[in-house]
């Protein structure tokens, strides 16, 4: 992160927006061409689950890619002008560092906060800890469980840090992407089987567009749907929280593979996985951007057609 800032000081800055349980900084990179006014934003976080190593790799790839191309790619340049990208390469820093410790810790998932009330296991599932139908479905109240949702919503400082930032920025965020593995899925809100997002059709359309873009890169199939439809019901996820506070386009990416290597993806798959995920993310971000910055054109076109139609109708009547 320091290197990105050093090499691109005019477009990259960093911000510490919270602390982990073990008091490590939670840092994001803010990337965009500077402007005088308030800018719209795209949020991306990676590594909320420690063992999903391909996710932080992708955040790093994404950062490098937009910095590499923004001067020459007109679309990326335009989006860098109109938007700020807020990228958190590793959200669950404690868990991630723990998973790098040795082979026996590699498959850690949760945070590293200690259990309470006599339970001796560690960690809360950060993606069950958000204030979004917290504790309702797809969670465990056993602190030894991998889907332990915590003693209460936002018991974990990592979840609180994201909640706090999103709360401050919510009017400006056009799209929220949270990156996971594995499964090759694009999940749309909500995790609760009985609750539908008001813009479900739009979410599915954009998600399916992203999956098409992904497939075009290396032929990989990504399935799109709500979590209860294509994976399992769950509550307290960051994606659901983002949608609930009004961020219209909120997606979970589950990257490669489909179970052969699972969390332990071989090195030679990092680059292709990142390339295809970039294409998917780019599709969603472009849609979110164009919806806001091209809607004027859409309105103008509609008005023009309406005027022409009215002219034709009136002339037809005269005849």
């Amino acid at each position: 992160m320091e290197q990105m800032k050093r090499e691109n000081p005019d477009v990259v800055s960093s911000m510490v927006y919270g602390q982990t349980y073990e008091r490590r900084n939670i840092t994001l990179l803010k990337i965009g061409l500077s402007s005088t006014g308030r800018k719209k934003a795209i949020w991306m976080d990676c590594g909320i689950h420690a063992r999903e190593w391909i996710a932080p790799a992708f955040c790093q790839y994404f950062v490098r890619e937009i910095l590499r191309t923004y001067k020459t790619d007109t679309k990326v340049n335009e989006m860098m002008k109109n938007l700020d990208f807020y990228i958190t390469p590793v959200l669950n820093v404690d868990g991630y560092i723990y998973s790098w410790h040795n082979e026996s810790t590699r498959l850690w998932r949760k945070s590293r906060s200690p259990g309470t009330g006599g339970c001796t296991c560690y960690g809360t599932d950060l993606n069950r800890n958000f204030y979004a139908n917290w504790g309702m479905v797809g969670v465990s109240t056993d602190c030894c469980s991998q889907t332990y949702c915590g003693t209460k919503a936002l018991s974990e400082s990592e979840a609180w840090a994201v909640t706090d930032m999103l709360g401050k920025m919510r009017e400006d965020i056009l799209a929220f992407l949270t990156i996971h593995s594995y499964g090759q899925l694009i999940l749309v809100p909500y995790g609760h089987p009985n609750i539908s997002a008001p813009n479900y059709d739009e979410l599915m359309e954009v998600g399916l567009g992203a999956a098409t873009a992904i497939k075009a890169v290396h032929g990989m199939d990504y399935t799109v749907g709500t979590s209860p439809d294509v994976l399992y019901a769950n509550s307290g996820s960051s994606r659901d929280f983002a949608r609930l506070i009004g961020i219209p386009l909120s997606f979970t990416f589950e990257l490669r593979d489909k179970g052969k290597h699972g969390f332990e993806l071989p090195e030679d798959q990092i680059q292709p996985t990142c390339e295809e995920a970039y294409a998917g993310a780019h599709h969603i971000i472009t849609y979110a951007h164009d919806k806001v910055f091209y809607s004027y054109a859409v309105t103008v076109t509609a008005t023009l057609w309406t005027t022409l139609l009215a002219a034709w109708v009136s002339s037809a009547i005269l005849l």
């Binding site: 082979e103 998932r109 991998q146 489909k258 290597h261 798959q269």
Partner: protein, 231 residues
Amino acid sequence: MTTGVLNPSHYPARRAATVVQHYLNTRYGSPYRWIFLSTVHSGSAEDVAEMGRKYQLELTMQEMISNVSGRCSAELLFPGGEGQSAPQVQASCEGLHQSNTTAQEEAFYQQHRASNNLASGNDIPDSYGHMEPSVKPFWQLGGVASSFIMLRESNESTLYNMAQVANFTQLETEKDQLRFNYHVLLHEMISQEIIHWKLLVTWSPAQGVQVLQTELQPKCRHCEAPPNTTN
């Protein structure tokens, strides 16, 4: 529970299809033949009175080493009622057996049947997804052996994959079967748990993979291990 025609991209069909994958590996898997679900084309489910839930699926499976794909029709029954009972699967596939593994299997078998150099290994793949090429067939064998457990333990609320071979040790060859102790880590997707199992595995080109003993390992140090499960 969804009954009738199933959406092929929704979880009920996909979980059932993965059970078929495990079944095919118990029947046809080897150190050089490891089958994975490629696509669910269509499926349906229905309740069968006093028996459980029956699924019918049209699938494409892919053999991972040769990349040969084959179309399969499968029927499986998840037994209802009390107690844990393994799903019952029937499947017929076209084209999957086209991969000719005889030469590789025979070479591997001959290489390892003499007991003067017993193989062993651990953390396959390692944290970086890496493994030495010579160890790959043992990984694949571990995956196939794990399929016996994953098949037995599966129900409509589970989705199993093998996460890693924690370690394996070759034992003396007995009755012309290569024999191994395996410690495998299974990932169950819905609970997100990593479940440790120890297995006693035999294999030969003629007899295929057999799992003679399985033992669930305790999750944490102070937990009690359940009794041995013998097949």
